[in-house]
């Protein structure tokens, strides 16, 4: 793990995002700087309205910053146009949503295969890959189920599989367990962590739950659009591993 640590994937410099509602100016992000390395699992934690989602959306190129730089894999995200951003997401990013956001008309395997469709992969190959991915998240039997025929936990596993199937360099997850009960949350968290570890992926997860945040290597505490502190969890994790 330590050999990959030195390579930065995401560099954020002096990032601001202001919303104006009428005459009021909301400072959703108020000067943020950090670097995330390849293979890291980072969580962004803070109270509701602290600017977590805003930060994540800008990292994923879903929103334009008011000011500042976001460099991912050497490329300036903030300078890209809509077309380039879509291409960037298609090639480098996986996304896990709080409300799962599976397409209701498609079954599990089709949902997982969807991002591969956008890459122009032939049907046979992408369905095979999707099925394999579903097996990995433990949903082999539910392959043909529609989202409405699955529990929340199962749906989010499909969501995880969909994010992972394209083998993205970075995975963004906005409150991925926000709609799940605590047991299921832990299951999904463990699953995500396991796969991310195995495949050496970079995962950035937003949560308001300190416990869930503690699954990560590093924890970014955010309040009122500013990073309060960055807690390094790796050493503690190592000690936990040693205890076991």
């Amino acid at each position: 793990m330590s050999e990959t640590k030195s390579e930065p994937v995401i560099q954020v410099k002096d990032l601001y995002k202001f919303y104006s509602i009428g005459n009021n100016k909301v400072k959703a992000l108020n000067g943020v700087d950090f670097t995330i390395n390849r293979g890291e699992f980072c969580s962004i934690v803070g109270t509701s309205g602290s600017g977590k989602s805003t930060l994540l959306n800008m990292l994923a190129g879903l929103e334009k910053p008011t000011k500042g730089q976001i460099v991912i894999g050497g490329e300036h995200i903030e300078k890209m146009n809509e077309n380039q951003l879509v291409k960037f997401r298609r090639e480098h990013v996986g996304f896990i949503f709080q409300s799962f956001n599976l397409l209701p008309t498609m079954n599990a395997v089709e949902n997982v295969a969807l991002p591969l469709t956008f890459r122009g992969m032939p049907k046979k190959i992408r369905l095979a890959k999707a099925a394999k991915m579903l097996e990995l998240v433990g949903l082999k039997k539910q392959c043909k189920h529609k989202p409405t025929q699955m529990s929340g936990g199962q749906q989010q596993r499909v969501g995880v599989a969909r994010a992972l199937v394209v083998k993205p360099e970075i995975i963004f997850a906005d409150e991925p367990t926000g709609n799940l009960d605590s047991n299921t949350s832990a299951e999904v968290m463990n699953l995500m962590k396991k796969i991310v570890r195995e495949q050496n992926l970079t995962l950035i997860m937003v949560t308001h739950d300190n416990h869930l945040a503690s699954f990560a290597d590093r924890i970014f505490h955010i309040r009122d659009g500013k990073i309060l502190k960055i807690e390094d969890n790796t050493n503690r994790e190592v000690t936990i591993d040693e205890e076991i």
Binding site: L62, S99, L103, F118
Partner: protein
């Protein structure tokens, strides 16, 4: 994205909303059918015009008359100041030399009487060169078109038998009682060429008012081997009443009959002696192409002759039918326009409903071009399906109209052609138009879908 994936995706989306898709398609069906049926009416109208023209002598022929008709009828006297251009062999030759003229035939017309048993008939003979007769393409029930070098033969019109009357009772069996007179058209006939003399002797006034000499009844010539134009007694066409003959044989016959006397219709000197040359009543001019008819006609009238052709009539008829077609097509276009508003509306609705879905696929990396194509394909599909169904409906309507209105119309206008004609180009045109209308009405909705912000789309619950 693969095109196949795009295709299946948009078809699936349409299939998900069956009822709405069906209703939108219905709009296109009606619009397409309206256009196709309306235009098919216009086409049929135009076609029947052209067929009428064909029946009355074709599109590439000009009939030329001598410069001054009236002088001709006044006993051929040349006392008028206007110099009359007569249709002599020289003039015929001159006409033949004109550009775009394929050939020219003189037309010599004359009245003759034929008799068989109780019945006789007055026939109007049009003698022409065999080249022209062949070109006329006279449909024959039996016999053949008289050729150069043959003995004199006649081609009777298919309605010729209705002209026979009983010379004693002076009644026409066909017109009076509807009976077909007992005449064997393939049998022998007496032919009388000197019609004037025949009637003068018949009415008892058997002396020439000028010379005072007694007129003898004209000689009768036995003839057979008449050919007959095909067609029923009620069927009217340009060959149904006139009698055709080869001009050389006919001239030879007239010379033989009248010897030194003046042939009726031919010019004479003041003392009543015939000239050595022939003067024809008409010239039949065949032009190489329809488009040149007007030009040739102009040149001929500059020669001092009177040309007539169907060109002007055809032009005005076509202009009229074009404007009728435009009006009919316009009515159809309005309904297709309404259908296109329906498509646009459906697509907009569908985009509002699918805002979230569009947002998700954008976050997952579906390119903007793909999203646009997806919606354009959906709209195009609505157009295509509507177009195909509309076309099928149009063929049905067209067949029904031809079945029920066709007989009504043919009774009224005397033409046997159909009321509605859908040529292949119209089908193709209708399909492309309906697809095009689909794509055009899907264009702005597709742009809108493309511009949806992925973020606001995700936030929509």
């Amino acid at each position: 994205m693969n095109f196949l994936d795009l295709l299946t995706m948009s078809v699936n989306n349409l299939w998900r909303r069956k009822l709405r898709t069906a209703l939108t398609v219905l709009g296109v069906v009606i619009g397409t059918a309206a256009i196709v049926v309306m235009v098919s009416l216009g086409i049929a109208l135009n076609k029947s015009y052209l067929e009428d023209v064909e029946q009355s002598g074709g599109l590439t022929t000009i009939n030329v008359y001598s410069g001054n008709e009236y002088a001709f009828f006044e006993g051929g006297s040349q006392s008028d100041d206007t110099e009359k251009i007569e249709l002599t062999d020289d003039v015929i030759e001159e006409l033949a030399q004109l550009d775009h003229v394929e050939f020219v035939s003189p037309v010599l017309t004359s009245n003759i009487i034929i008799k068989q048993g109780l019945y006789q008939a007055d026939l109007y003979v049009r003698a022409m060169s065999s080249e022209a007769l062949n070109k006329l393409d006279i449909p024959l029930a039996y016999g053949s078109v008289p050729q150069d070098g043959e003995e004199l033969r006649y081609v009777l019109g298919n309605q010729a038998i209705t002209n026979f009357y009983n010379a004693k009772t002076n009644s026409y069996p066909y017109w009076d009682t509807g009976e077909v007179p007992d005449v064997d058209l393939q049998g022998d006939f007496f032919v009388i060429y000197d019609v004037d003399a025949y009637y003068q002797t018949l009415w008892g006034d058997a002396s020439d008012p000028e010379s005072g000499t007694t007129i003898k009844p004209p000689k009768k010539y036995i003839m057979s081997d008449f050919s007959l134009v095909s067609g029923g007694l009620e069927e009217y066409n340009q060959f149904s009443s006139d009698t055709y003959a080869n001009i050389d044989a006919f001239k030879a016959q007239l010379k033989k009959v009248f010897k030194n006397k003046a042939i009726p219709g031919q010019p004479t000197t003041k003392s009543g002696k015939p000239y050595k040359y022939w003067v024809y009543n008409e010239a039949y001019v065949k032009v190489d192409h329809m488009d040149n008819v007007t030009d040739v006609q102009k040149v001929i009238s500059e020669m001092g002759l009177q040309p007539t052709s169907n060109a002007e009539w055809v032009e005005s008829a076509q202009k009229q039918s074009r404007s009728i077609q435009a009006v009919l097509g316009g009515i159809g276009a309005v309904s297709l326009f309404v259908a296109s508003i329906g498509i646009a509306n459906t697509m907009m609705m569908s985009i509002y409903e699918r805002t979230k879905e569009i947002g998700i696929i954008k976050v997952l990396g579906c390119s903007l071009g793909n999203i646009r194509t997806l919606f354009l394909l959906e709209a195009a599909f609505i157009g295509l399906i509507g177009g195909i169904l509309g076309l099928i409906l149009s063929y049905g309507i067209s067949a029904l109209m031809n079945q029920f209105m066709g007989s009504m119309m043919s009774g009224m206008m005397g033409s046997t052609s159909s009321v509605s004609v859908i040529p292949p180009w119209l089908s193709l045109f209708a399909l492309s138009i309906s697809v095009l209308v689909g794509i055009l009405s899907g264009f702005f909705p597709a742009l809108k879908a493309m511009k949806l912000s992925p973020l606001s789309a995700i936030k929509t619950e």
